[in-house]
Amino acid sequence: MTYFILQILPYISVSVLIIGLLYRMGRWASGRIVHNITLTPAPTTQAGALLDIAAEVVFFKSLYKADKSLWSGGWIMHVALFSILGGHIMGIGLLGLQFYYIGLTSEHTSEYLSNLLGTSFGVVVLLALLYLLYRRMAINEVKQLSAPSDYLHLLMLIAIVTVGNIMRFVPEWGIHYEPVRDYVANLLTFTPITPDMEVMHKPLFVLHLLLVQILMIYLPFSKLLHIPGMFAHRWIINRPYVEPAPGMPGVAVGGTGHAVSGGQSASGGVQ
């Protein structure tokens, strides 16, 4: 079973994720932007539109203006989650020495910082997820909107994060960066893993990885499609719009030709 999860499932889950996303995005692309449904006020240049989209993606600008408490939970959750994803790449790829490589700290401090950041964001994301779960159950409107899967998505993330946090806080259940790097290197180079590798003997690591892979498999078939969906839909409604030039044909502008006195216009009658 462990062998299946570590050796075979990753290829399946990555394929499903990529093919699934391509399938969904391909379907979107086959639909047209039929009408101009730009939300206004709209910028007048493409750069302005991209800036608007960037502000939405990075800061959740619209949501901030609309619902501060949801924004707090949602934005913090997403930022922490993306930091953790980045942290995984840094930790596993550079063994936590990223701050050392850019010349900020010593090797030791870099690894320490890496661990500290990972642990902190792990706690933050868990708290944010718990708030979002509470919100889904406590606020009547959100509860009325929720399908079983809406709770399951949150529970799944909570499970993944909890397992990750336990691995952080209980060192003997956790795992160091190196063995994971070796494992990932094996996967990437299609080298078979061997039974003596450390990853095979860390049940929580296996569980963590299993849960993540399940998530990757269902992502293209769930509301988690909002990740590419956000870009795709913002691309439709946050567009530049250039106004046609006003000004009536045959009108001299600037006060001339409009000898106005006592509220009477001297401009000619209309034939």
Partner: protein, 463 residues
Amino acid sequence: MPLTETGLKQPVKASAADMLKININPVPDDQKVEAAIKHLNELGQKFRSLMLTFESCVKCGACAENCHTYLGTRDPYNIPANRADLLRKVYKRYFTPEGRFFPRLIGAKDLELEDLEKMFSYFYQCNECRRCALVCPFGLDTCEVTMAGRQLLHWLGMVPKLHAAVGAAMAKTGNHTGLTKAGIVDTCEFLEEEIMDETGVEIKIPVDQPADILYIPSSADFLLNPNTMTGAAKFFHYLGVKWTISSEITEAGNFGLLFDQRATLRANCMRVIDEALKLGVKKIVWGECGHGWRAGKMYLPGMLDRPGRIPIVHIHDEVRYYIEKGALKLHKEVNSRPVTLHDPCNFGRACNMCDTLRVVMNACVTNFVEMTPNRERNFCCGGGSAILFDDPEMYDLRIKFSAKKAEQVRETGVGKNGDGILCAPCSICKAQLYPMVEEHELGVEVKGLIDLVGLALYPPLNK
């Protein structure tokens, strides 16, 4: 009607005879579900915005407290995400892998006849105001779902009598209220006399005359909003341009946008352009109408099946342009009563007109008070997308939908002495607000913006 007994509020439906007038042969009940699924597939495949709205919503609920229909009724189906779910659940069930295999898990469901009745009720309780699109973190547009839902219902033969009657009147006469050319000419002559009595200036309202400018008024201006029509006439006269209205298209509105985009919207757009080319005008100037201007500005250019090289602008943008050029002498002291401005949703969130409205407003009145929220964050009047139904049940809903607006107007304090003005530069807003300011006892008079421009250009003699 058994469904009304279950508490489902619906506007009066158009009869089969009414539907035939707008070229729809209603689908019999036993075939409706099958036909609806077929149409839903077409719509989903065609509109990327619709597919994205179906597939990307995370049900965060940010839209709930930002929708005035929900705030006014607390009916869960008036939460935008839930309203969209009426269609989304069905779409997912039939057209997504997850809905096909795990319908209950993700909240997908088979389509039943009763669902269509529910859609008819709730898609006609949506004002298509797009405030939900503004607040949605992804910008998902429930208006697109409402439009798709109404289109689908239209193909099945389920359209409110009001909308179907307007569609038929438009096809027959070129305007929504069924004005005949004789009626238009007579009303214009009457309005010319009114202007003469009011200002002592002889101003003509030309009908079907050769001209440079084709003005597209809202036909409601010929029944309810005389000052909007005269305001525009005064403005054109002041500039001295050769302008005309056309008895073929005396309608700024386009109900096709609201219930049938495939045929009615296109036909009405073409009607404008055909008439403009026939008259040989150089420019089309649109009148005060919110959804109609959205159709004219954002939809029309993409719908023409002949080249459209005639610029189309809104009269407020023109007024602003000449104000900024210093070409207008405006006697703003005439409009000294306290005024607040209701930004029509389509002007604010779909047509980029908030700044323009304020430039014009500030040039024409002395006591302008902003309501909060304003501009693109403004709440709808509750009549948006022409849900101006007057059977008691639906009228009661209109009162509830306008509750938020009433609260906003009250907070400005413009009506506290009973002499305030609520400026609502849109025919649907006006039609909704005329009775609603009475229902909510706001102490304000509803006026258009161009009405105020007209007054400031040619001050009344007795003032």
